[in-house]
């Protein structure tokens, strides 16, 4: 720690003497280490996804024995893999969860960010506490309840418990976004002759849209990545991708289909990674919203 604990967030300290800037070099080396640590395992997944099954454990760094076979295995119904259906299931569950959380949560976030009322602290505490709630504490009672009312393995059996963590996350993130918005602008627009509707449509909506969209992405990723609840409450027909990947079947029975699993992982991950990289700044703001300030 000591060696790296120089000034955070300052411009490269102007080199005291003319000559080589060792501090800057150290920064670049550290940055390279971070890049390697974060990206190489993901890179390894992709390289393996394109590798012929016979060369699963080839340790060449760059792609060798390149093939699309693994992706075919992933969607091969004759092996018992229904990855297409799993993808649709994940979309349905994560999409519905996000929609409900957003539609309901946006009002609560507005109230928490903009209005003064008693018990605000308590409400926020309850919502935060809810977001930290352990999923296992829901699975047991819901397992019995859904078995009794015949919902076991249905989409709602996953959507309902998923709301328990996406809704608090949505409210929490949106609240801190809303608190940062320049709401005075709305009043100014009214003074300048906008109607209430116009002020909302032309000023507030464009300001709130990016925040809402970012929150939707965070909620969607959370629900898309959910495993525990889905592993217990889904059926063959509604199984989402995370559970499917955990119980994947390969071409050879009784043999872990590493390459096919890596291919499946790549398919699931690439859209998320693209989404995250495109909206990088907003997502970081959303992730850290509320934790500081």
């Amino acid at each position: 720690m000591a060696a790296t604990a120089t000034l955070p967030r300052t411009a490269p300290a102007p080199a005291r003497r003319k000559g080589f800037d060792w501090g800057q070099l150290r920064t670049y080396v550290s940055a390279a280490v971070i890049l390697i640590w974060c990206l190489i395992p993901a890179y390894w997944m992709i390289v393996t996804a394109f590798r012929d099954t016979a060369f699963t454990f080839d340790s060449t760094f760059w792609p060798t024995h390149v093939t699309w076979d693994n992706f075919a295995t992933v969607f091969d119904e004759s092996l018992g893999n229904h990855f297409g259906r799993n993808l649709i299931n994940s979309l349905i569950v994560a999409g519905a969860t996000t929609a409900v959380a957003l539609i309901v949560g946006v009002f609560a976030a507005y109230a928490l960010a903009r209005l003064n009322f008693r018990f605000k602290f308590a409400v926020m505490g309850f919502i935060l506490g809810a977001s930290m709630f352990p999923g296992v504490a829901l699975v047991t009672p819901l397992f019995q309840l859904f078995t009794n009312i015949g919902w076991m393995g249905s989409y709602q059996a996953m959507i309902i418990p998923d709301i328990s963590f996406t809704l608090p996350l949505t409210v929490y993130t949106l609240t801190s976004f809303f608190r940062e918005m320049p709401w005075e602008l709305e009043e100014s627009a009214r003074i300048d002759g906008c109607t209430q509707g116009q002020a909302f449509r032309k000023i507030i909506l464009p300001l709130a849209a990016p925040a809402t969209f970012t929150t939707a992405i965070l909620a969607f990723i959370g629900a898309w990545n959910e495993f525990l609840i889905a592993s217990q409450l889904s059926s063959d027909a509604t199984r989402p991708v995370t559970v499917a990947i955990a119980y994947f079947a390969g071409a050879q029975p009784h043999q872990e289909p590493y390459t096919a699993v890596m291919a499946a992982g790549t398919i699931v991950t690439i859209p998320l990674v693209i989404l995250v990289l495109v909206f990088q700044r907003k997502i970081v703001a959303g992730l850290t919203a509320g934790a500081v300030k």
């Binding site: 993901a42 390894w44 997944m45 507005y110 990947i245 992982g265």
Partner: protein, 335 residues
């Protein structure tokens, strides 16, 4: 949302020029806002009550019921009935039918699962805090390619935990790249300590970025002038770190550690997929899931215990270590 604003404006605006009616009007404004707030909050609170409080209350009720099963004393199949604290003593004292649970049964694993859970929590959170802090300090500096690094750290975070588990399971396979790189021949998921470290390393890879970004956000709130002043006063880099960075970043750091700790205490996906909980990697969450199909009611007792443990840890953090997540979230006004 567009309809509620004029109310507020009406209540607040005309009061300004006069002194006398101002307080009265402010009170009315408060009442109006309170009414709006409750209308807006009700859907969220009802929904959370349905998806969280109802199941939890249900679980607590279940946990005081006996599981249906064979009665060893009579040999008959019995339909449960009230159990008192039997399900809780079953786990806490590892008691099965009045004697200590035989090895191998789920009942005998409670304290192992508890210590495994805390081992994972302490080790991963400690590693992630140190590594995350280091990453945050690097990312806070300005250098070419900084935005690429900030983007790269989001990659492990975005990958689903189930995929992360499978990826590291592959990396730690006997013929896998980890053994080749280090020239070792370890069956990583085949015995206790390698399996535990495999889980720890995967978890660290997956969640350090989250920690780093939270700490980075905290670092960015520290004004440059503070460092400049310290430099002028001749503080060394180490002094600047311990006397400025650490105390000023502490609130953000504590919230980050709190979030990660509570998250680690419910760890499930990684060990469940990598080892199925074998070799003493069974966490409390895994034990609950294993128990569900053996008997709902004692699973409910165990999940209630897990919930209480997590709640207590959160309480200790907030009460004694000053991790003020709610305060951070409710403090009004922009920075």
């Amino acid at each position: 949302m567009s309809t509620k604003l004029p109310e507020r404006a009406k209540a607040g605006a005309p009061a300004k020029p006069h002194q006398m009616p101002r307080r009265e009007s402010a009170d009315r404004k408060q009442v109006t806002q309170g009414r709006w707030a409750s209308i807006l909050l009700v859907p969220t609170l009802i929904l959370l009550a349905v998806v969280i409080i109802y199941p939890v209350v249900n679980a607590i009720v279940m946990s005081f019921q006996r599981d249906a099963g064979l009665n060893p004393a009579t040999g008959f199949f019995e339909q449960g009935g009230p159990a008192g604290f039997e399900n809780y003593t079953h786990w806490l004292f590892q008691q099965c039918n009045g004697q200590s649970c035989p090895p191998g049964t789920l009942g005998s694993q409670f304290w192992n699962a508890m210590s495994t859970t805390f081992f994972f929590t302490v080790v991963t959170v400690a590693l992630e805090t140190v590594l995350g802090f280091w990453m945050a300090i690097i990312m806070a500096r300005s250098f070419r390619g900084r935005s690429a690094v900030r983007a790269a750290v989001l990659v492990p975070w975005a990958i689903p935990t189930a995929v992360t588990a499978k990826l590291w399971f592959f990396i730690f396979a006997f013929d896998g790249i980890a053994n080749k790189l280090f020239g070792t021949q370890i069956l990583w998921t085949g015995s206790e300590w390698p399996a535990k470290w495999a889980v720890v390393i995967s978890d660290t890879w997956k969640t350090t970025p989250f920690m780093a970004l939270l700490i980075l956000a905290g670092l960015q709130l520290i004004p440059d002038e503070v460092y400049e002043a310290a430099k002028v006063d001749g503080a060394t880099a180490w002094q600047r770190f311990t006397q400025i960075t650490l105390p000023l970043v502490r609130p953000a750091l504590m919230v980050a550690i709190l979030f990660r700790t509570l998250d680690a205490l419910r760890m499930f996906d990684l060990p469940y997929i990598m080892t199925q909980g074998a070799n003493n990697t069974t966490t409390l969450s895994i034990l609950v899931v294993d128990q569900i199909r053996e008997g709902f009611n004692s699973a409910a007792a165990l999940s209630t215990i897990t919930f209480i443990v997590i709640f207590l840890v959160a309480f200790i953090f907030v009460r004694f270590l000053g991790a003020n997540a709610v305060g951070a979230a409710t403090s009004s006004g922009r920075k």
